[in-house]
Symmetry: C2
Subunit: 358 residues, 2 copies
């Protein structure tokens, strides 16, 4: 059966549950699934040029109207300025509580569109059509939406679950190679946390953006399921949702220390290797080779900082720390994460030296 006619479906068990469809050429599936007949499509100029036409055409066939709101690509659009502009336009154009928003784009579009949906008239429905691999495997599950402040990223937002997510693997073909590799980092992370079959598949030749749609859809589905299962147990980040933070302490510190000159994917790829080394130092399973091999495949920019003294203050300032304690996720074994909050300066320094000398 063709993937476009029968996309895979998995349900995220939050309240209320929502479906994630994974397939190829899903515009018609989107148009038939969304409940509202008046839709605001928030997208950026790059994605708009590639995918908007097919979507609006399908909506029209289904008797629904889609009006596009275009934002500038890039992190700077996660701002109060862009948010208030989109909201004003929607109010002016007669959107109401029965309308819905479709996020057509990557993480920036998803975060902004989600918060727009959460706050327009105190909350309307929203759907996601992620255009990047990162948005497909990460941002499409979890309900985190938001914008940035000059004081920091994602400091303003809401937990707002979509009513449906449509992962169209055909979109991957239009993704730059480097962006595909960035997205693969979170996918690989889900493999480490919970589903080791992912780690094997990431090494296969079919795993690239022009790969077999069936293979990609299957692999993405397994990755999404890891996150969906965790979110279902811990929607508001009180407990095990922290496992998803594997590799992210170092990543956030690298991003902050370099004023975001390093990309998130690169930073997390370093973070996964760093955390693997920390686990090994505690005598746990040695997975440093897997993570280093993957790091080389990602081909990240070089580390923006080399001195640990430069990095340490940023590690200590992570917004997930509590009562001044750094909270790390480490792996005792593959697929067996645990939370560690007693890492010493020396342990961190040793792992850092290891990473710098790779």
């Amino acid at each position: 059966m063709a993937l476009e006619k029968d996309p895979r479906q998995l349900n995220v068990q939050v309240n209320p549950p929502y479906p994630i469809y994974i397939g190829k050429d899903l515009a018609t599936t989107v148009a038939n699934t969304v409940k509202s007949s008046k839709l605001a499509i928030i997208t950026d100029s790059r994605v708009k040029a590639l995918h908007l036409e097919a979507l609006t055409k399908a909506l029209k066939v289904a008797g629904k109207s889609g009006q596009a709101y275009e934002i500038t690509p890039g992190e700077d659009s996660k701002s109060f300025e862009t948010l208030s502009q989109v909201l004003s336009h929607m109010a002016h154009d007669g959107f109401d509580r029965g309308s819905a928003i479709i996020a057509l784009g990557g993480g920036v579009v998803g975060d902004l569109a989600g918060f727009t949906a959460a706050s327009f008239m105190r909350g309307i429905d929203f759907y996601q059509l992620p255009s990047s691999l990162l948005a497909m495997v990460d941002a499409s599950v979890g309900g985190k939406t938001g914008i940035n402040l000059p004081e920091g990223k994602n400091l303003v937002g809401a937990f707002w679950q979509p009513k449906g997510v449509f992962i169209d693997v055909a979109y991957l073909k239009t993704l730059p190679d480097s962006e595909f590799r960035q997205g693969a980092v979170e996918l690989f992370k889900h493999g480490l946390i919970k589903d080791t079959s992912i780690l094997e598949d990431v090494k296969k030749t079919e795993f690239h953006k022009d790969g077999e749609p069936e293979f990609l859809a299957d692999l993405i589905a397994r990755s999404v399921k890891v996150k969906a299962d965790i979110i279902a147990e811990d929607e508001k980040e009180q407990g095990i949702r922290a496992y998803l933070n594997l590799g992210h302490n170092l990543a956030h510190a690298l991003e902050a220390a370099s004023d975001h000159q390093i990309s998130h994917g690169d930073a997390v790829a370093y973070g996964l290797a760093f955390d693997a080394r920390l686990g090994l130092q505690r005598g746990w399973q040695d997975i440093s080779q897997e993570t280093l091999e993957f790091l080389r495949w990602v081909n990240p920019k070089k580390l923006p900082v080399t001195e640990f003294a430069e990095l340490e203050p940023f590690l200590k300032r992570d917004k997930k720390n509590k009562d001044g304690k750094m909270k790390f996720v480490l792996l005792k074994h593959l697929a067996e994460p645990c939370i560690v909050d007693d890492l010493s300066h020396d342990e961190l320094l040793e792992a850092w030296d290891f990473l710098v000398n790779q």
Copy 2:
């Protein structure tokens, strides 16, 4: 027993439930009840001058810190500009997910502070200390928070329930008389919808801002209970919460038609008399005398519009209309509201002529 030591308490049964304390001189109660030790107090310059000192002093005694953020009094502060400023200041000043917000003020402060709490780091705790009678009996229950757009009022916001509300009747003494009467309108409305004992008490001489604290606390408690019971059944405004809209169709139309030159309380007072007349025209209980008598007590500004043709387009544009139908709440009998969506032009015109000729 003194009211300051033993405030009345009632619980609003949303998920999770929260307590409303009603008493006199509650600063110490507030300080001992709030869970966080780092508090942002959002207030306006007028209320700040009257009530901030006692609150921060009590917090200090309880080992907690309260930092005040002052906004300009008035509706214009329900803006993206003020919201983003407060959020940035809070981020800069080191507030985190464990911090909480106290709204110290009237409806504007409550709406803005509530939305600030809903969106700071995707949601932190928030407490309300309403300073006006209107905020005490209306805004303190229901979880509606938000700001305005140039395109309309309250178009952006969130449902965000407080963790506690503290109604301090001593605050009423500092309220201008006219504002007290404005607040009495929603209180009277609660009497019409569900608790007729309120209607009797509103006529009593003790019912003014310098009235007996016991009497005021008791009356406010009954009014709050009417709204709390309705919200508990219908938090997200799917059904019976609509009853709270009694008098509000005409009110919103008057506000919009006059570009908000009429106050909300005045507008609702007219709306209650209008709705009473509509019910009478359908052969239901005649409560037009009660509502007209109350309207005279409120002493509203005169009607900003006299021609029905001027008003009708605004009635038809109410954001609570659905599929183009006007949805009114009318009373079959006192304390027996029902929803009516088939009012004819002629019925509305007749009731309007009646009101204009009072």
